[in-house]
């Protein structure tokens, strides 16, 4: 079955939550984004952000960290219902990523996915391109991240 047959266009589905512990924020930043406000609580308090906060690439990768087990669960659920799960391929990228608010140490981000559109790939019969809205909100319900991604589907 295809994504568009299973997930109504425009309807957000929660895919999981992630707690951003200070040690995880610092470990990611030390590898990939060693700016002071991602590494050091005192420096972060003096910065525009006002506190230790995650690299935007960390909160972005957090979406994928939630999506992979969510999707595995969906595939198991569909198979148990006798439905052939959609076969998804790699993503060619994303657009319109906004880091709307900092993700501070201790924040819990709940991520979601919304199918926006699904269309056949004219150049490659048997393949579809799905456009999805990926988002995350903190424990106060404030949106912290959003981006639109494309995902290949094998029909």
């Amino acid at each position: 079955m295809r994504m568009a047959e299973l997930y109504p266009v425009g309807q957000a589905v929660e895919i999981g939550s992630l707690v951003f512990a200070a040690e995880d924020i610092v470990r990611f930043a030390a590898d990939f984004d060693p700016q002071p406000f991602h590494l050091d609580a005192a420096a972060a308090r003096r910065s525009l952000f006002g506190g230790l906060c995650a690299s935007g690439w960390h909160s972005s990768a957090g979406w994928m960290k939630c999506f992979v087990p969510f999707w595995a669960g969906e595939c198991r659920r569909l198979a148990a219902e006798g439905i052939d799960p959609p076969k998804l391929g790699p993503s060619p990228g994303f657009t319109g990523l906004r880091w709307l608010k900092p993700v501070f140490a201790g924040d819990t981000i709940t991520y979601s996915v919304t199918l926006l559109a699904s269309r056949p790939l004219a150049s490659r019969p048997g393949r579809l391109i799905n456009t999805i809205l990926c988002a995350g909100a903190n424990q106060h319900g404030e949106p912290v991240i959003r981006f639109e991604s494309t995902v290949l589907e094998f029909a």
Partner: protein, 159 residues
């Protein structure tokens, strides 16, 4: 004596910053994937070869994070950066396989003073990441907020 920080005024359109080369090992690819993107083609050589990626391939999020580190080393570490509001586009053009050596550059697309915060400017960049064969593996267009020189030194100076 340390070099002065690069401020908004230093990022004129067309200015280019080259990335240092970095080889991505299978261990790094697998470690990142275990934490953030545990799909078979990012975890296992055999599964990677069987996939359309053609080998043990880095998660696109890993490639993006490595690009971030390259940006940091290329200019952010010596710039009056105030973070980024977001990324207009990120394209993963080609698989990054274990053992690939990445490099590339970023260049300034445009620079303008913030209307809401005149003490900073917003610089838009395009980054291109290439592999050891010169093939483009990732493209990213993003914005970076930079303090203006007038906001450095004496904070009370007129802009």
């Amino acid at each position: 004596m340390t070099d002065a920080l690069l401020t908004f005024e230093d990022f004129s359109p067309g200015r280019r910053f080259d990335f240092a080369r970095r080889t991505l090992t299978a261990d790094e690819i697998v470690a990142f994937a275990r934490e953030f993107d545990p799909q078979p083609m990012h975890l296992d050589e055999q599964a990677g070869r069987a996939s359309i990626l053609g080998g043990l391939a880095a998660s696109g999020w890993h490639t993006s994070a490595v690009m971030m580190r390259m940006l940091y080393e290329a200019y952010i570490r010596r710039a009056a950066s105030e973070g980024s509001p977001g990324v207009d586009l990120m394209e993963w053009k080609r698989a990054v396989l274990a053992g690939d050596t990445l490099s590339g550059h970023c260049s300034v697309l445009e620079a303008r003073v913030s209307r809401s915060r005149p003490e900073i400017g917003i610089v838009r960049f395009r980054a291109e990441v290439t592999n050891q064969r010169g093939e483009l593996v990732a493209v990213c267009e993003f914005a970076n907020m930079m303090r203006r020189r007038t906001a450095e030194g004496a904070g009370h100076a007129h802009g």
